[in-house]
Amino acid sequence: MLKRLTLAAMLSLGVAAGALAAGERHGGTLVFTAPYGSSFATLDVQSSPNTQEEFITQAIHRALYSWDSNRNKPVLELATSEEVSEDGMVHTYHLRKNAVFHNGKPLTADDIIYSYKRIANPENAFPGASFIAVIKGAEDYIAGKADEISGLKKIDDHTLEITYTGTINPGFPLMQNTTVIYPSNVEDESTFGKTPVGLGAFVFKEHVPGSQVVVEKFGKYYEEGKPYLDRINIVLMAEDAARDVAFRNREIDVSILGPTQYQAYQGEEGLKGHLLEVAEVYTRNIGFNPAFEPLKDKRVRQAINHAINSPLIIERLVKNKAYPASGWLPISSPAFDKDKAPYAYDPEKAKALLAEAGYADGFEFEVTASPNESWGVPIVEAILPMLKKVGITVKPKPVESSTLGEAVTTNNFQAFIWSNLSGPDPLNALRCYYSKTPQSACNYTSYANPDFDKLYEAAKQERDPAKQNDLLRQANNLVQDDAPVWFFNYNKAVMAYQPWVHGLVPNATELAVQPYDEIWIDETAPASRH
């Protein structure tokens, strides 16, 4: 065993050495796909919560923090260091002195204050306002009761003091694409929507609405020697099948794969060697409404979890492009409990639980579902016969995806199937099961358990990350036991990339969003990329 481990370690070292020896190469064009359906709504990314806009953000902008995919945590981006006060509320940031905006303005504390005020401005109704709300005084500013955000204090041009409302990790809210930093010297803010200016490694060049955004290397980017690429074409590729053709035709450099393509690519020489997989921070689930009488009973909800053969659905229908869920927090969460087993497939136990709850003859319920192939109507259809076996009749209620969110937040459902963000911040993910979180926010199943609340509140106060994670792990296990949802799976995101592309990282928060400044292409790339 030891020998094998040593060999594995040597092999991986060899691979690493090989990668280093290969050396990064400057120049070339990367054709990157923005695969999530719609066109870019706006280039003013502070105003847009769409995932699609994150592809532009990553190239053009920078926030105070960024996500480090290799360390799986947020890290300082625009500051070189920070000091935290004894009580954990006041952070003093020492900003980068070499960070320059694309319009030539050097970054100062004023730009951060300006940006956070713009995001929180009640007249703007920007989605990032809820992230800025972690700063002391921001709630009053958002409500229009104050002219300044009291927690923001400029010490000097390159020193900024931020007072937060609690002992939170500010990295999570302040690394979002909606909390990026804009220059404070632009007179007409409406220009941000058409000609964005940021601190990122690439400068905006062109936008063909509905087709692509082109960015070019920024010569004054603060990371020395970066970026490697001269240009990136971020192309809209919404259709899986069209993306498949374009990828095989070597017209695009990366492609996000659906279950069918994942299966196909795994079996093809030349394709299977260039797949990047990661356990993303989404949990697919069927949420139960406790206002619907049978689902009020914990035993009924547990029975449903026992009655469905999740691994079988994942294998046959989802083509193994998922990991069975054992609780709410996903594998990539720092508070994930790897020792907690998922609900076992056990129809007999399910029947016994149903009988115990007074539903020996079963009952009928409706699942509101969108057409999504991985977490929509096809999955509900797959569970029909399984639940029928224990006496429960399920009726799918198909709705369009924008209707799903409305139905759930307005309590207009018996059950719903959805894929929900469950990381990377476990404290924020479990907020959705805190009894004081309204259903219209994210406590969609109206979950309320005093024991959970105690653990959650304790975790909120805890400053030691290890202890905090331990409390959150316990809280997560309570949720699993109470089964307010059917725990289906955690998404396995899969990206196919061309062999000449290097520097991609397993980003658990969203695999399709990649650090462009780290990416380089080698000389085997086709002529169109040179």
């Binding site: 359906g37 509905g210 053709v245 989404y282 369009e400 924008s402 209707t403 937040t409 894929s419 926010a441």
Partner: protein, 311 residues
């Protein structure tokens, strides 16, 4: 002719008004809101405060009648409103996309015309021949083939297998990028036009005046050129007009598939995100486009056949 032209142009106005009202009513009753669509993919938690702020900003918390009054007043001043998604004037968004849509529609129509009319003619002049049979089988196949599937076939064949053309995108606006989507979009009007031309020509060929022309000793070529072509043209022009008018609407699927930046893909995105002002504006523009072309066809038709004006 002037009165006829004026009458036809004035008829557009009530149609546009009715369509505008219908669109407003439909999108007022369909479930789903712009704010809800922002977290529809589950990638972020719902934020009730943001939803409230957005609804207030866009006036969605106002009573239906009040919103309707604003909509009508704005429309009367040719103001299509402001997009929820981009916060830009709807008219600007449509302008940004219109050129690409026009390029696609014109290219598709040119392709359809150039191929279909000669084919239809030849098929009609040689009824029952191999060419006739092949043309008509092709036409029926073209009409019955789903555009999405046809587009994928085109991509697969011309991009992946033969490597002749790019499979998607607008590129730098080059002609090469236009070919595949235009051909895919052009197949349906091509098939319809080939059938119409064949039927029209056959109809004329069986008419009494053709027999008379033949009996007077007029050559086949002259008969076709002077009598058949001219009379069949009326039917062809009408079909071309109707097809051209509906092409922009039909392009929705093609534009999404080929990542073509036209108003079709703008419409799809806007419906999905419940960006109602853009949906309303885009549909209105598509309807207006159809009506204007239809009117133009009627006018051309009347010029070719003066009897139309009397009807």
């Amino acid at each position: 002719m002037l009165r006829f032209t004026l009458r036809r142009i004035l008829q557009i106005i009530p149609t546009v008004v009715v369509v505008a009202l219908l669109i407003f009513v439909i999108f007022s009753v369909v479930p789903g809101t712009f704010a809800a669509s922002l977290f529809a993919d589950g990638r972020r938690a719902a934020d009730p405060q943001m939803i409230a702020r957005l609804n207030e900003e866009f006036g969605l918390n106002k009573p239906l009648m009040e919103r309707f009054a604003t909509y009508v007043t704005d429309l009367a001043q040719f103001d299509l409103g402001t997009s929820f998604r981009t916060r830009q004037p709807v008219i600007d968004l449509i302008n940004d996309r219109m050129w690409a849509s026009l390029q696609l529609a014109v290219a598709a129509m040119v392709f359809a015309l150039v191929v279909s009319v000669p084919l239809g003619f030849v098929a009609a002049l040689r009824p029952g021949s191999v060419l006739d049979t092949v043309t008509m089988i092709g036409a029926v196949s073209g009409l019955s083939m789903p555009q999405f599937w046809l587009g994928l076939l085109m991509m697969y064949l011309f991009a992946l297998q033969l490597n002749w053309l790019p499979s998607f995108g607008y590129g730098d606006g080059s002609f090469r990028n236009l070919i595949l989507p235009a051909v895919t979009l052009g197949v349906t009007p091509l098939a319809l036009l080939a059938r119409t031309t064949r039927a029209g020509v056959l109809d004329v060929l069986n008419a009494d005046f053709i027999r008379t022309a033949h009996s007077k000793g007029m050559s086949e070529a002259k008969v076709v050129r002077w009598h058949v072509a001219r009379n069949a043209l009326v039917l062809i022009v009408t079909t071309v007009g109707l097809q051209f008018g509906s092409l922009i609407g039909q392009a929705v699927v093609i534009e999404k598939l080929f990542a073509w930046p036209g108003i079709g893909s703008l419409l799809v995105d806007s419906v999905a995100s419940r960006d109602i002002p853009v949906v309303q504006g885009t549909i209105l523009v598509i309807v207006l486009w159809f009506l204007v072309i239809n009117t133009a066809v009627d006018l051309i038709y009347a010029a070719i056949d003066p009897r139309i004006k009397q009807e």
